[in-house]
């Protein structure tokens, strides 16, 4: 089974790929085509990962770089997980190619363009005011200390991330997480308005310059404070902080809220007293699930909730189906729609509805809007709701 690991050559460029031994190793593909067959958008790509590597090896570089094919890569880690050579396609090879594609694209799709420009200017892809990043704290119901105001070291620095901090349904996750951290007696704080996007999706869509800028700004902000470890609600941020930031100088233990809570389940269990009465199906996110193999943690949490029964979808654990939101996909829906491509989240929600569950549980803030939209489009929103695992835990907590 492929294992996620720290990126050792963070500055690998396409030139480096073709010129350095480490880069050339990435092209040591046996051309089996598993990647092309497993890719959720493989049917729509002229240059699937297999063909792309073949073209690069034979020197047809400009041909590969002059199409917008790779914008359909939603970094689901399926090609990486199934590659018999264990090549780092999703998080190393494809972003290095995408970076060059983005530099050559005559027109970057408008939705992606505004998300990237907003992230650069405001530190979040929605273009919301950086001064309102911590506005959700007022409605948290429990104190959420801001590290700068606290004036002392904390055990856990919680990186809330953009969709959890700004998006109204994401804020439900933020409020739930705050309640759980309080219930567990965790010594935590957030950065408040000083926090900026961690930038993983910018990196994976090929906007490396934007990622580098965010990483430098974030590293400088984190360095101002003393804290034991990092915690985040966003699997993409988890990946960046765990595997990319360390190679660039920032090295702290990092956790995602789902495994963090799973590890403290014994302390939490006596407090989980409210009977929920839900039939739940859990969606393994590509990053937390397939890339980090954290499949048992969310299921252990859901099992511990009173009155809950779990049902599995056909595609689960490492074989999960992508919601289509990673690697910039979150801001390319209009691009895919214009090309007539299917919406991957619709495919996932159809499978979820077929289980007869009434709750679709998730662990990634991108999935809430994606699946809620699909439920509405498919007419399933009267039968099923989408909830982050943290929202369900908070619901089961005694008032």
């Amino acid at each position: 089974m492929a294992q996620a690991s720290v990126l050792e050559i963070p500055d690998l460029t396409l030139d480096g790929l073709l010129a350095t031994p480490a880069g050339r190793e990435l092209l040591s593909c046996i051309q089996c085509g598993t990647c092309a067959g497993t890719c959720p958008y493989g049917d729509f790509m002229r240059y699937t990962p297999r063909r792309l590597i073949g073209m690069l090896r034979e020197g047809f570089i400009e041909e590969v770089l002059s199409t917008d094919d790779l914008l359909t890569c939603v970094t689901c880690y399926d090609c990486w997980a199934k590659c018999p050579r264990g090549l780092r396609l999703t998080d190393v090879l494809l972003p290095a190619v995408k970076e060059q594609v983005l530099l050559r694209l005559p027109e970057v799709p408008a939705e992606l363009q505004s998300a990237l420009a907003n992230t650069m200017r405001y530190g979040n892809p929605m273009g919301e005011s950086p001064r309102k990043r911590a506005a959700w704290v007022e409605s948290a119901g429990v104190p959420v200390p801001i590290l700068r105001d606290l004036g002392r070291p904390v055990d856990v620095l919680w990186i809330v991330e953009c969709y959890t901090a700004y998006y109204p349904r994401g804020q439900d996750n933020a409020r739930a997480t705050a309640r759980i951290l309080h219930a567990l007696g965790v010594d935590f704080a957030i950065l408040g308005n000083e926090e900026k996007c961690v930038g993983e999706c910018a990196r994976l869509v090929g906007e490396k310059g934007l990622f580098d800028t965010l990483r430098e700004q974030n590293a400088a902000t984190y360095a101002k404070y003393e804290f034991g470890s990092l915690l985040t609600c966003d699997p993409h941020a988890f990946d960046a902080l765990a595997y990319v930031y360390p190679a660039l100088g920032l090295s702290r233990p990092v956790d995602h809220t789902t495994p963090f809570v799973a590890a403290r389940l014994d302390a939490l269990r006596p407090l989980l007293t409210k009977d929920l009465g839900y039939k739940i199906t859990y969606h393994d996110s590509c990053v937390l699930g397939r890339h980090n193999h954290m499949h048992d943690e969310p299921r252990r949490i859901l099992d511990a909730l009173p009155g809950v029964s779990l049902v599995e979808m056909t595609h689960n654990r490492d074989n999960t189906i992508c919601c289509g939101g990673g690697g910039g996909g979150m801001w390319l829906d209009t691009f895919y729609k214009a090309k007539g491509y299917p919406r991957l989240s619709d495919r996932r929600v159809e499978e979820a509805l077929a289980t007869g569950a009434d709750v679709l549980a998730v662990s990634c803030p991108y999935e809430v809007p994606r699946f809620e939209d699909s439920l509405k489009v498919l007419g399933g929103d009267d039968r099923m709701v989408v909830r982050d695992v943290m929202e369900l835990v908070a619901e089961a907590l005694a008032d």
Partner: protein
């Protein structure tokens, strides 16, 4: 072909705007400035013309917070020279800044004469669109504004499109050199990856020229106020019958039933 693009920074309305203590200007406490959207379109149109006909694009902007980022981005997008005009007091009005920039253009080495001057036809702090006409007046050039498409032809002739209500479009010919106020470029402003902007910050240069702000202009801001909140919305609560009879009562009261 030599093209000059005039850019300026305007208040970014992503942050809430507050009136300063003097009651006649914006509070600078949390104010952030952003490139005027129509000026960004003017730059895009200039770059499209450069790609089509070769030549050079020079960008000139009054000094302001965050203007350096905008000028480096202009270089990354394809501008050849970027210049900022210093000496303006922070928070100075749009008309003063325009007059200062127009007067300083002759101090930019090797710039004038140019074939074309492009700028946004409006800004959120200049709905009358004074920049183009003021610069044209100062340089003794013709001006045409609210332009959505522009090309140049041999023999120093330009042809531009203007939009009118009802979907009507007018095509105009103009003798160059001229000043053109751009409403929208032929296509949306291009995205330039941040790596290119960072490279421009390392290798590019922002030239500066000193401007001399004019004395008091005939127009000045006397008072600035936030819009007054209208309290005309009434939320009708209660059961269906209560709501229906209240709606009827309101409509009847206005002679509509």
């Amino acid at each position: 072909m030599k093209t000059l693009v005039l850019l300026k920074m305007v208040p970014d309305v992503v942050e809430e705007l507050e009136v300063a203590g003097d009651g006649a200007s914006l509070s600078r406490d949390f104010l952030r400035l952003i490139i005027n959207e129509r000026d960004e379109n003017a730059l895009e149109q200039a770059l499209i013309l450069k790609e089509r006909h070769q030549g050079t694009v020079t960008v000139v902007a009054p000094d302001a917070p965050e203007v350096d980022d905008v000028l480096y981005t202009a270089l990354a997008r394809g501008a050849d020279r970027v210049v900022k005009v210093t000496g303006l007091e922070e928070g100075v009005g749009s008309a003063e800044a325009t007059v200062t920039v127009a007067a300083a253009l002759s101090s930019v080495a090797g710039l004038l004469p140019v074939d074309l001057i492009l700028t946004g036809c409006q800004a959120i702090d200049d709905l009358d669109g004074l920049v183009g006409p003021l610069v044209a007046h100062q340089l003794g050039l013709p001006y045409v504004g609210i332009v959505t498409g522009l090309d140049v032809h041999p023999g120093g002739m330009g042809r531009c499109l203007r939009e009118y209500p009802g979907g009507v479009r007018g095509s105009f010919e103009l003798d160059l050199p001229a000043v053109v106020g751009i409403q929208g470029a032929e296509k949306p402003p291009r995205y330039v990856p941040i790596a290119k902007v960072r490279a421009a910050m390392t290798s590019g240069t922002i030239e500066t020229v000193a401007g001399s702000p004019p004395g008091a202009l005939p127009l000045r801001v006397v008072e600035m106020k936030k819009p007054e909140v209208a309290e005309r919305a009434e939320m009708i609560a209660g059961g269906l019958d209560d709501i229906a009879s209240r709606v009827c009562e309101i409509l009847a009261g206005r002679g509509l039933l």
